[in-house]
């Protein structure tokens, strides 16, 4: 299992390093083992947004951490694509430019994996092929409703 873990680690690491620059528009990220013992060593992430020096993920911003995490999850997906993926408001900390890059990547991966994305963000909604509304017209009782994206667009302007 030692070599199996190392193989998994290396594959995810390679894929992370491909996905990170796509989400950040440059820079690099890598997985690091915290010890030599392959059976017990822990795993850490280092990330360099374009033009920045620090590697400790602790100093990254809220939005940057969310993007690195998305790159990592999608890197794992590439190795073992689960039949579906559910994401609950992962776009909440992201700015508009990063949401666009995130949606582009999700769109590409959705060729192989089904995505169910919970979001309040209009651009993320617009990127989905199907939209389901959950509402509580009767207090405390959840019900599904159709969502008309034009309606959603319109109330975002006023």
């Amino acid at each position: 299992t030692r070599s199996r873990f190392k193989e998994t680690f290396d594959q995810i690491n390679t894929r992370l390093n491909e996905l990170f620059p796509r989400l950040f528009g440059g820079g690099a990220a890598a997985l690091v083992l915290t010890g030599d013992d392959l059976l017990n060593a822990g795993v850490m992430v280092t990330a360099h947004p374009p033009g920045k020096r620090n590697t400790s993920v602790q100093m990254l911003s809220g939005g940057e951490k969310a993007l690195v995490a998305v790159a990592l999850v999608f890197a794992i997906f590439d190795l073992n694509p689960a039949p579906f993926c559910m994401l609950d408001e992962v776009d909440a900390p992201m700015d508009d430019a990063n949401i666009t890059r995130f949606c582009d990547l999700v769109h590409e991966i959705s060729q192989r994996t089904q995505f169910i994305i919970i979001t309040h963000n209009r651009s993320t909604m617009a990127a989905c092929h199907q939209l389901i509304g959950v509402t509580m017209q009767e207090p405390g009782v959840s019900r599904l409703v159709g969502v008309d994206l034009d309606e959603v667009e319109r109330c975002s302007v006023n």
């Binding site: 873990f5 998994t8 680690f9 995810i12 997985l31 915290t34 060593a41 822990g42 795993v43 850490m44 990330a47 993920v57 990254l60 951490k65 995490a69 998305v70 990592l72 999850v73 794992i76 997906f77 073992n80 694509p81 689960a82 039949p83 579906f84 993926c85 559910m86 994401l87 609950d88 408001e89 992962v90 959705s110 060729q111 994996t113 089904q114 995505f115 169910i116 994305i117 919970i118 979001t119 309040h120 909604m125 092929h129 199907q130 939209l131 389901i132 509304g133 959950v134 509402t135 509580m136 009767e138 207090p139 405390g140 009782v141 959840s142 019900r143 599904l144 409703v145 969502v147 959603v152």
Partner: protein, 168 residues
């Protein structure tokens, strides 16, 4: 093995039987705060065998049963069913011959859960076995709950290792 639909009845705020039809590969779910969107993810974790009430934002396992509202009485049981399309035969073994796979879980006020696989009662283990090797499961990397995405990369090194091992 694409997810076709999720049916909830009496699960959390989904009092009335509710079916999420999911024909597409990129589905958005939206709605006001407190409407029940995250309850859907809880339902998916639960039907796949989640056994910790805390992971489902509750105190005990019966907290997933509809507890009433200003206009409705509490219910005595909850049920969630997930239906997958198995046309590619991705699920091997005895399930390869089914074109659709349905897993279902119910719970009553005593906290007793029952699991069903294509309508037949089975054990919890049978459900977790179905998902073995697919990357799916109640704590899988493919279910990212609300509010944790920014903390994932700061997890303890041994937790991050576990996260990766699930994919192996």
């Amino acid at each position: 093995m694409r997810l076709r639909r999720i049916k909830l009845a009496g699960f959390k705020s989904f009092v009335d039987p509710t079916t999420f039809d999911l024909p597409s590969s990129l589905v958005g779910v939206t709605g006001p705060n407190g409407a029940g969107k995250s309850n859907l993810i809880d339902a998916v974790r639960w039907v796949m065998g989640e056994s910790s009430a805390r992971q489902l934002r509750g105190g005990q396992m019966t907290d997933v049963i509809f507890s009433g509202s200003s206009g409705r009485h509490p219910l005595s049981s909850a049920s969630v069913e997930m239906v997958f399309d198995n046309n590619e035969g991705r699920l091997g073994g005895e399930y390869a011959r089914f074109s659709e796979i349905s897993i279902r879980r119910t719970v009553d006020r005593e906290g007793i859960s029952n699991y069903y696989l294509n309508g037949t009662r089975c054990r919890r283990r049978d459900i977790t076995d179905v998902f073995l090797g697919t990357g799916l499961g109640p704590r899988s990397y493919s279910l990212i709950e609300q509010g944790i995405i920014s903390k994932l990369v700061e997890s303890k090194p041994e937790d991050l290792r576990e996260f990766l091992e699930e994919a192996a």
